[in-house]
Structure formats: C-alpha cells, structure tokens
Subunit: 259 residues, 4 copies
C-alpha cells in the first residue's frame, strides 16, 4: 500500500519536490494546496510533464478546511510553503495525518503551534531536509566525540550572489558548539550550487566530510525519506538529524580477518 | 591511576607509538620487549629524547616469560612487532593483561592463537589502528545504510613507490560490499603520505569522506584510544571499528529551533 | 561594432550556446541554420525567452548556399551541429567568414575539408571548447615542463550513466604524453556533471589543477571567447588550447618587495 | 661541469636545502658559511649522513671576506640565513658569483643593498622559493587574464599554531590585485603542513589550483631550480615567479586531430 502525501507549496522548490514524490514508487501525491487560485483544478503531474493524473491542485481560499482533511485524508503532509501554512493544516492532525515541515524559519508564534501539533501527531521539522547534509551533521558530531581535541573548521561555498552566510553552515557550527563567527568560512564565487566542508584537524591526520549539492531535487528525496521514516513514529516532534542518526545505532560487528 | 602499557616492537612505527604513549597523560610505558638484545637495559624515553626514565627495554632472549608478566604486570600490551610475537605474550593473559594488536597480517595459525586469547582476556585487533580511518569506515557504512542507492567509489593516493593497492582501501571496499577490483582507484604520485577518499554519488548530491595521513604518530594515538577503550571491556575479541562505532550510538537529540 | 555570428546547430547544447551569444555585449546572433525545417522562420531569441528579435532560424533545405552566405554575411560561423555541416558552410569562407567548430569528432574526409578551409580563412577547431578545460590543459603542459620528474595522474568524475571514458581526460593524457590506460582514472557516481583533476606529485609537494563543470553554458562562453580571438587572426587552422596558451606569454615581471 | 654552490644558513631549513644540493647531480656544495663557529671545520655532507666529504663549514668570524670569495669561488650563493647576510657576500659579486636569496623579509636598507647587487651580478630573490607555489601564482595570473570576470578566492590551511596569515597567500592576493582582508581565508587545524588553494568561479564552471606542501625539502628543489636558471642570466634582479613564468612562453602548438 502506498504512502499518500498532501503537499503545501508549489513554487521553485515545492514543484521539484512534488516531481520527486510522483516518481517515487512507494509515495503517491494525493493533492497540492496553494494560497493562489492560479492553477486550481489542474494536476501537478501534468504541469510537471507526466502522462497521468496525480496531485490535484486546490486553493486554500476555496476549500473547507474542516471537511477537506477528512474527505481527502493523507498519511503525511509535506510543507515547503511558508511559516503561516501551519494555521491551515493543524486540523489534519486529528485524522492521524503526520507532518513533515521544511520551512526555513519559524517565528515564535508558529513555532509554538508546531510544538502543540507534536502532541497530537508525529511531526518532523527540518530547515535543510537533504539526506547528505543531515548525515554530515551527525557524522561530524560522532567524530567530535571520538576525537574531542580535534580542531574543527567549516567552509561553505556558494554562488556569487548569495548574500548571507549559509544557514546550514551556521547550524553545523551550532551543533558542534563552535563560535559561528570564528569557524565558518564563506566562499562566494561564480555559479557554485552549494558545497559544505567540515575539516577535522588532528596532529597527525586530517579528516574532511564534504557535501556538494547538484540541484534542489535533493530536497525531494530528503522529504520522502522523512515521510517514510515518520510512518513508524508515535506522536512527538522530531528532526531530520534524528531520522538520520538512528542509522548510526545498532552497528554491530563480527570479528573477521582476511586470510 | 595510570594505565600501564607493555610494548612489543620498537622499529620505525613502534618507536613513534612508544613516544606517543610516553607523552600521554593517562598512559605510562612500563616496558618494551624486543627480539634483539641491541638496546637492552636502556630506557625508551631516553632514546626518544625525553629527560626522564620510562619504558625499560628488555630482550625476549633474556627473560623468563612465566615470571616476567607476573613481576612486570601491565594493564595492556600493545603489539606493533610481528605475527609470531603472540606466542610470547599469551602467558600475560592469565594475569589479566589486555591486548591491542596492530599486526598487519596474521597467518591462520597465529590468528587461531589470537582468537584463543580472546577467551581469556579482552583483545582488540586492527591492522589500521588510526582513529580517522576507522571513523571513515564506520561513517561510510552508516551512509550506505541511509542511502542504499548511492554509487560508491574509493580513491586512495600514496607515494610513488608504494607497490600494492592500499590494504585499508581494500578493507573499506570489503566492509561496504564493493567489488575491490572495480571500485578501488589507486593513485601513485610523488611523496603523498596517504590519502583515502570515499565518494557517495546520489542523483542530486555528492558526499565525500576524506582521510589524509600526515605521519605515523597517528598510529600511536589510535593505539592509546584502543587501550583506554579496552579497559572497560570483558574478555572477547574486538576490532577498532567497533571501538569507534560505539560512539555512533546513543546520539540522542533534543528538539531545538533557533528563534 | 558588433561581431556577427551565424550558428549551426540548435539542439541541447547549440541552443544554450545561442543564448549565451544573444546575451553577450559584443556578439550578435545573425542567424541559425538547421537541417530540419521545424522552427524555420522563428527567432532563436524568442524561443529562448528574450523579448526582442535576434537569430532568425533557417533550414538548409530551403536556402541557396551560394547566395545565402553573401546576403547574410557574418564575421564568424560557430558550429555545434555534426561533422557533415562543413560541406554546407565552406562557401562562406570566400566572403571572409571565420569558422569556430566544436564538433566532437571528425572522420578523415571531413577533417581534410576542415584543413582545406584553413587555407581560405581562419578556422578554430576544438572538441571541448570551454575556457576552463583548455586552461587546465595548457597549465598542465607548463607544469610538466617546469617539473619534468613529477608523476602525473588524471581523475575524471561523471554521472553514473556516462559509459565511455571522458574524451577530455583522454585528450589531457595525450597532450601530456601519458599512457591513457594507465593514468586516466574514471569515477562514475550519481549525478556529477563533470569534474577533471590533474595531480602532479613531487617528492615534497603535490599540485592539483581541478575543473568542475556546472552546466553546458560553459560551451557558449568558450565559443564566444574563440570567436573574439579568431577575429584578430590570419587564415590558418587553430586550436582552443592555442587561443588560451597565448595568454601564457608576455608575462613580464617587475621586481617588487613589500616594505 | 658542475654548478658550484656556496650556502648561507644551516638551520632547520638551510640544512634540508644543503642535503638536496648534495643529492643533486648537477650541483656541488662547495662550502657553508655560518655566523656561529659551532660546526666549523666539519663537512655538511657528514652531518647530513652522507659517506663522502662535501660542503666544508666555515664561520664568518674566522674568514677574510676579501680573500675568501676569490679563493673559494662558487658559481652561485644560496642564502637561507637572515637579511643581514647580504652585507657579507656582496664582495662575491665582483668574482661573477650569482645570488639566490630566499630570505623571508628584507628591511629597506638591505633591500637597497640587494638591488645594488643586481647591478653587478644576476640576483634572484624569492621569499617562497618552491616550484609549486610559483607555478600556482603564475598560472593564476594567466587564468585571471583569460577569464577576467571570474570571482577569485584563496584558502590557505596550516597547522593550529601558525599565528599569522600565510605570507604566500597574501602574496597571491597581491599578485592578483585582490583585497587581502576580503579574499584570503585562513584555516588553522591540527598538523597540516601547508595547503594553498585558489578558486576561480565562473557562472558555469569552477577551476581550482591547489598546492600542498609535504615537507621543507621543497625549498631545496626550488633553490636548485633557481640556481640553474640563473646560470644563463645577465646581471639584474629576478624573481622566482619569473624563472617559472618563462616556461609559460613558447608554448607552440601543432594542429592535430585524433583519427
């Protein structure tokens, strides 16, 4: 049986994520909800070049939230829209729908709403939902624990016009307990999509964990991973790092020697 | 209280390891055992440029194995000599001495001896005992589990005169279930000390874990880590990967959001 | 005054190149010639999303080659179509039109035609016309001359489905006099667009020159560079490496010291 | 016939350089001049573990400068000592001896002396005399000329205890006309010997030139290259970049196509 998905957001990233969901063998895109009425009644699948109907687009303006989430029940809502969308889908939780939120930044008010939602259903929140970045963060934490005296520096490289320091790099620094202003080095050149490197320096060896983004479909694959992972979880609020970290456990070993 | 160490081997690598043990705050080098009688009666510390006496050097020829391990009891024996050394120190196990073996390759006979020793005391065996390489192996296994569809390639770079394919690279390939002839790429140029890179390719992102060796003192730090880790273990036979892997567990997360 | 360009080919790469030409301040796309009649009479600029008319599309079937190149004279023809296109535009040479060919591979017959064309006008031929790759080749040759004892290895990384060894990597090996089977290492993983690395190993230092492709617009910028460079050349046949190499000359130095 | 070398300085770097000179097939170490009298009368070769006599050590205190440079004529003096050494060897210039100076930093006074010396003999001055770094600088200048719109960033990585920003990185920035405070990124971790990377970012491609130091013998090979190069030069004052740059010239091409 497929995992049914409802999607909030169909912009630059949202549409790429929708495409990945449609292509996934286990997931099915039930619907897309948008603020605008512009594409209302069309199928996301058709707009994305597929030959079948999947992911009817609705406008928030024209639905009755109470009835909608019951009549159009989905297993998981994936949210790539904006912070305030949560006001809309909190009714869905009462029908057992789980939530994956990839919103970049919540204000205090909406964050409280998200936490409240975690008391009714399973919620995973991650501002950077790619598998690779979350692996990088978790592996870095482990290495820091193994080699507590290592010096650590972060290099992030992005295209020339990206103004701010990478939020992901700041998150890595925070997770490793590093002073963000001291240890995050930003490179802005040409058209680099996104590269993050964590360098661990020991007196006699150097270890580097490097993540390179090729395009934003990586977000779709991360969201799908999160949705699948969340299907086995009780209510509560989770992070992507956690979804990845559990793979670091139960790493049992058998003693073997090449002969 | 310090962890007392007995050392087998005082060659090119062994002497560097001994130096790291002497410098370590928690470990103490009780003695060094050698086949040759050449440096008998001297202190390893003095030969390595320290100003105090630590690590008296004995020759296997001139000791009574039975009495020696009782009279010169140590918490851990670290072995950087050769496969046959195990014949000598198996008596030590009965006095509770634990064993860290960094021998490159055991034949079947000595491997059986090592396994037998694991029934009397705690034994850790690792042909590449650096922290960084074992972290790289464990992290790679985890990433393979998170992203089972990723393509994986290994690049190893070493100095021009290194003839064989890196044993470490072969071990990585084996641990990841990769065909060694297909997926290990060997670069031989100039004076590169040793670099191992594992590349994980996904459709939309690339992840690289890179280890660079700067010098062989990295072995000393690995051996010390292994010795300390082994102090808390029951009898049995362990690997360095395991000593590192346990750090990947209990990675608990608290939900936090920047506000 | 602008450099006027006629373009052969409007496929996956050709259309991206046309877009770069339209965007360039010094170049102007006069026309596009195609085998097919499909887009005949349309403007390339419109098809590529611009708001003005530039680059009328013609079909080879419907033009009179003799008259066409006189009536629609251009300074440079840029060819991203196929080997046989040369049969069509050789008449253009008699009106002083220069030729930039980026065809991947010529057979003997068409290669002779290209050489013959070089006796009438200035022709630049390069199967990989990006600036970066040609810089990498030239710089590698220079470094090999400075450090003739260096060991050299080439690593090329591309997406999983690329079957053949990178033609660019083979060209680099050839230019450096290296055995292609021994010194070109191919990595095939995930979605890597294209990366070429030349490693120079000396006993006490390692030098790496690395080129990463982000997308195929790099071909457009290379072709424009070639067109501009060719404007100052007499008849003859040139390579992109040469267009780049001349920048390596006249590197005069003034003695200066920080005080 | 061999190139005879006189050496100033026999400290940490100087002695490694002397060793490379002794090992070189074309160069011969005639003598070493030191301030101290400590090793006076010994052979550098013996102190460095060779089995023959080469490079008698003299003390400046005990020689007559006037007679010494005539009686002990050498083709080239290589100076790895300190800025004031020039006061001592300026007499050597009148006997046709050429000068290679690798002093890190000259004050104004000694710099004037060096310039004056350039009117009598051929003088090469370079604070970083490795081949690799000078290649990196020259190649970067060339690439900047080919791709003037590229964004350029410099990353330098060194061991934890290196306090200052790398002088070499500052020199690269200066040579490329970059604001040093904006474009030099310093990484300080563990035991990294020395790595310099220049990143050129274009909209559709990225080019990296990377230099990694393995140990200080690289200085010896650079000094030997400089000495050999200087043998063919008239009086004047030269830089290492220039010695390397001339290899970038006369890069003639023959048109060839694989068939």
């Amino acid at each position: 049986m497929k995992i049914t998905i409802g999607m909030f957001g169909f912009g630059r990233t949202g549409s790429v994520v929708a495409k990945e969901i449609i292509k996934d063998e286990i997931c099915e895109l039930s619907w897309v909800l948008r603020k605008s009425t512009a594409m209302e009644g069309k199928y996301a699948s058709r707009l994305l070049g597929f030959d079948h109907n999947e992911g009817m687009i609705y406008s928030i303006e024209d639905i009755d939230s109470e009835a909608f989430y019951q009549d159009n029940h989905v297993d998981v809502i994936i949210d790539f829209s904006s912070a305030s969308a949560i006001e809309n889908y909190e009714q869905a939780a009462q029908y057992g729908t789980r939530i994956v939120s990839a919103i970049s930044k919540y204000d205090r008010f909406h964050l409280e709403q998200l936490k409240a939602l975690g008391k009714q259903t399973a919620v995973l929140y991650s501002p950077n939902i790619t598998l690779g970045i979350n692996f990088l963060i978790e592996a870095s934490k482990v290495l820091q624990r193994i080699a507590p005296h290592a010096d650590i520096e972060i290099i992030e490289e992005h295209f020339r016009d990206k103004r701010d320091v990478s939020g992901t790099a700041l998150r890595i620094a925070e997770d490793l307990g590093l002073d963000k202003r001291q240890h995050v080095n930003s490179i802005r050149v040409g058209g680099i999509v996104g590269k993050h490197e964590v360098i661990f320096g020991l007196p006699n060896q150097t270890i580097r964990i490097v993540h390179e983004s090729l395009n934003r479909a990586a977000f779709g694959q991360g969201a799908i991973y999160a949705a699948k992972w969340l299907m086995g979880k009780d209510k509560g609020i989770y992070t992507m790092e956690e979804a990845v970290a559990l793979n670091f456990v139960n790493n049992t070993h058998v003693f073997e020697v090449d002969e």
